[in-house]
């Protein structure tokens, strides 16, 4: 049986590199070496994929998507049921960085294809991912690449590629933006087949050589008859690009950084970590998997437990994985997928190309109630297998009579293990004992105990500490 520290570390890894796991699964994983578990995560092809066929049989709307809601069912179902959690987490990471919104794209089907690109290539080579991204139909439309012509360049994609997708502001000139945009002229979208005719058909990426500016471009100190791929090759060599992407990775997987627009001014939380990550990134020729391997095995990662406010996708998918609810097609999916949106993260539809503001900005008075209530209602529902399991585990841990302290500590352990401030714990303990002594011997006593465990988990779900992951 793994010790408490191994359990805590494994749970931390699974929360960050995935969407959490119930205690039984954590215990099994913690029997292996930590490095082995990292390797499992890094090799998704060896793990079972989510059973999408079953979802599509019972909810064809989740495949032939016509509304945002149906696309969100598709993705959230994957987050909750996949056996390849890191692959899904990386897809979410790239969705944060390469934020594309259905409000303009207006094809959830095409949005899901972009997410599929992140799923397939998100743990591969960053340079190749950028090339694929530059040809992704949803992205082409989102950033007006179809309006970027030889005679009238549109800079939307060229600018965001540099500012938001690779290097960050103040590392290039306006001239570089213009030259970059020129290099991508002719990378465009073919005529779409009108969705209301026959449902979604894939949008075609097309290269129009006659609309491509073949002239010499001068870009970031390099000169040549560059096309889009050449420009990307130049970008990925830039130290600014390495720092920018590694800082994103740190912000997403390790600990909350300030919001992205502040990065040119505010130094990283852990400059050494960024430097080390950059080293691995360059060394591996921009492969993501070696970088992730380094990151998850680094002490700065292991020491960063609960240093991040969980994003709404993590809250919803993580809670469902914990309670064992919604792991199959279900009419409740229609309601459920709205939850991340109610908490401020409408998947497939970020507010702008800058993506979501993260960290403490996930929490505001308009959404906090929803966030706490969703988690509390789940963890105090004893009909759910994960909740029953926790109640039984708390009961089984009772060696010499159950004290309120013991009940609280067990609940905190099973929901995390989560460390809370002394003041928080004192409140929890007081509540656990508020209804008198606990006894488990009689049926009535056990029911009362079970209610107290559920109530305790609902309270913990509302603590400040539990908003972190």
């Amino acid at each position: 049986m793994a010790g408490r520290e191994e359990i805590a570390l494994t749970a931390h890894l699974m929360r960050r590199a995935g969407f959490g796991a119930p205690r039984g699964e954590i215990e099994e994983l913690a029997e292996r070496s930590y490095e082995d578990v990292v390797e499992l995560l890094l090799n998704p092809q060896d793990q079972p994929d989510a059973d999408m066929d079953t979802l599509y049989r019972y909810h064809p709307m989740a495949e032939q998507t016509l509304t945002v809601l149906t696309g969100q069912v598709n993705w959230l179902y994957r987050m909750v049921t996949t056996g390849r959690p890191l692959q899904e987490k990386m897809a979410l990471f790239w969705h944060h960085v390469f934020a594309t919104g259905n409000s303009k794209v207006e094809s959830v089907y095409q949005m899901l294809k972009q997410v599929q690109l992140f799923r397939e290539c998100g743990m591969g080579n960053y340079r190749d991912l950028l090339v694929r991204l530059a040809q992704d139909p949803a992205m082409l439309y989102w950033l007006d690449q179809n309006e970027n012509h030889k005679r009238s360049p549109n800079e939307n994609w060229g600018r965001e590629l540099l500012e938001l997708f690779s290097m960050g502001t103040s590392n290039y000139t306006e001239k570089d933006v213009f030259e970059c945009s020129r290099a991508f002229t002719g990378w465009t979208l073919g005529v779409k087949i009108y969705e209301p005719l026959c449902g979604p058909c894939p949008w075609p990426f097309e290269f129009h050589p006659e609309d491509h500016d073949v002239g010499v471009k001068s870009f970031l100190g390099h000169e040549g008859r560059f096309d889009g791929e050449d420009v990307i090759d130049v970008i990925v060599q830039q130290p600014a690009c390495h720092r920018f992407i590694m800082r994103h990775l740190y912000n997403f997987f390790v600990a909350d950084e300030p919001q992205v627009p502040a990065w040119p001014i505010e130094p990283p939380r852990d400059p050494d970590a960024i430097r080390e990550l950059c080293g691995v990134f360059v060394e591996s020729d921009y492969e993501m998997t070696p970088v992730l391997r380094f990151l998850f095995n680094a002490s700065f990662f292991k020491e960063a437990q609960y240093q991040k406010v969980r994003n709404p996708a993590e809250v919803v998918a993580g809670t469902l994985r914990l309670t064992g609810d919604m792991n199959a097609p279900d009419p409740r999916w229609g309601d459920l997928v709205n939850q991340t949106g109610y908490m401020g993260q409408s998947l497939l539809d970020p507010p702008s190309v800058e993506g979501w503001h993260t960290g403490k900005e996930w929490i505001n008075s308009g959404v906090l109630i929803n966030r706490v209530n969703f988690m509390a209602d789940q963890v105090r529902n004893a009909d759910l297998p994960g909740v029953r399991d926790i109640v039984e585990r708390v009961a089984a841990s009772n060696g010499h009579g159950m004290t309120p302290e013991h009940l609280v500590d067990e609940c905190l352990d099973l929901l995390g293990p989560l460390e809370v401030k002394e003041g928080t714990r004192a409140e929890l303990v007081e509540q656990a004992g508020a209804a008198g002594p606990i006894e488990l011997e009689t049926e009535a006593g056990y029911n009362d105990f079970s209610n107290r465990v559920e109530e305790m988990m609902a309270l913990i779900a509302g603590t400040r500490e539990y908003q972190f992951g």
Binding site: C201, R332, D335
Partner: protein, 350 residues
């Protein structure tokens, strides 16, 4: 016209019906994730739309569309009756029976009333219902495929229990067979079914990637599965139909095609969907907006639009026309040519 020819037979693509919509404009309409259909006399079709399969979505529950084969969409009904409607069949007295995989029952409707979009009867539209959830003989779990035999008894694929059960049309249990597994006579989450003119029962064994044929009493007779080599392999077949010559058509859901077999199980050919010509509903929607039609004319390749996307329900009418539910939100119809001579062969003969 697009033709698929093999083994002295040919299938000509005839036309498509509908588009992915809940709306009905008085003449044309559509389907929202059609899962099954039933053919009634006078070229009337009842098409079962799945809807979203969620309890909250606005206007997007399942429903039944009533249309003629040449796409006069007569209207829709049962807009608020289902959670997971799965299979539809008509009885000899012209009522439609629908299985609901979430509610574990069979609901019965009259066929003479339609409600203009988006209306429904708030007092309920069903005139009957039977079936209860469970795994005892006569109980149901996720009932899906449904078909009447010549005696007006009804067979139901009891998918959650991996079996087939036979009932009177009032829901009295007659017999059943099956069990979970991959041996002949066992099933893995079966889906659709059909009954041929001799009363043999064919079941799409979704999880086992095959179609099994049984005697009316449930004796295993034959399995249609094919191989990668003969191209007759199936991936999650959804449904099955048999024409008057005994040729067997399987909606090969996972491979996005309709696989056609000889009665003995040899593979003949496959249909992939050829609806590059618009349905009347498609014509209607595209003509509503001049910019849309201009854009449509510029599409270089319409082939992707024509392809099946997850074909589900399939039926064959008295003229051996093959009607396929295409999850895209339409039906595709093929006509069978039984004495087809290929043009090049014709030239040779002349």
């Amino acid at each position: 016209m697009i033709t698929t020819a093999a083994a002295g037979r040919a299938w000509h693509f005839s036309h498509a019906l509908g588009r992915p919509t809940n709306e009905h404009n008085g003449k044309t309409g559509g389907y929202r994730y059609p899962v099954d259909l039933a053919v009634a006399p006078d070229d009337i079709l009842y098409v079962l739309s799945r809807g979203l399969g969620t309890k909250t979505a606005f206007y997007d529950f399942g429903r039944i569309g009533k249309t003629t084969l040449d796409e006069e969409h007569l209207g829709d009904f049962a807009r608020r009756e289902f959670t997971w409607p799965a299979g539809i069949a008509t009885s000899q007295d012209d009522r439609v029976f629908v299985t609901d995989e979430w509610e574990h029952h069979v609901a019965i409707f009259p066929t003479d009333v339609v409600y203009p979009f988006p209306e429904f009867n708030p007092d309920g539209e069903r005139i009957g219902q039977w079936g209860e959830a469970g795994s005892e003989p006569g109980q149901l779990s996720r009932p899906s495929g449904i078909e009447f035999d010549a005696d007006d008894n009804v067979y139901i694929v009891d998918s959650g229990n991996d079996r087939v059960q036979k009932f009177t049309k009032d829901g009295e249990y007659i017999l059943g067979w099956g069990g979970s597994g991959s041996e002949p006579g066992q099933f893995d989450r079966p889906w659709g079914m059909t009954i041929d003119s001799e009363g043999f029962v064919y079941v799409a064994d979704w999880g086992n990637n095959r179609v099994q044929k049984f005697t009316p009493g449930g004796e295993f007779a034959l399995s249609f599965e094919g191989t990668k080599d003969d191209g007759g392999d199936l991936s999650h077949p959804a449904n099955v139909a048999v024409d008057s010559d005994g040729d067997v058509y399987v909606t090969d859901w996972g491979n996005l095609r309709v696989q056609i077999y000889e009665p003995n199980g040899d593979v003949i050919t496959a249909l992939y969907g050829d609806a590059v010509k618009l349905s009347k509903a498609g014509e209607y929607i595209i003509r509503r907006d001049s910019s849309t039609i201009v854009a449509f004319r510029q599409v270089k390749d319409l082939t992707p639009m024509g392809r099946f996307e997850r074909p589900t329900g399939i039926e064959i009418d008295h003229q051996d026309r093959v009607i396929v539910c295409d999850t895209r939100g339409r039906l595709q119809v093929y006509a069978k040519d039984k004495a087809f001579v290929a043009p090049e062969l014709k030239a040779e003969l002349l």
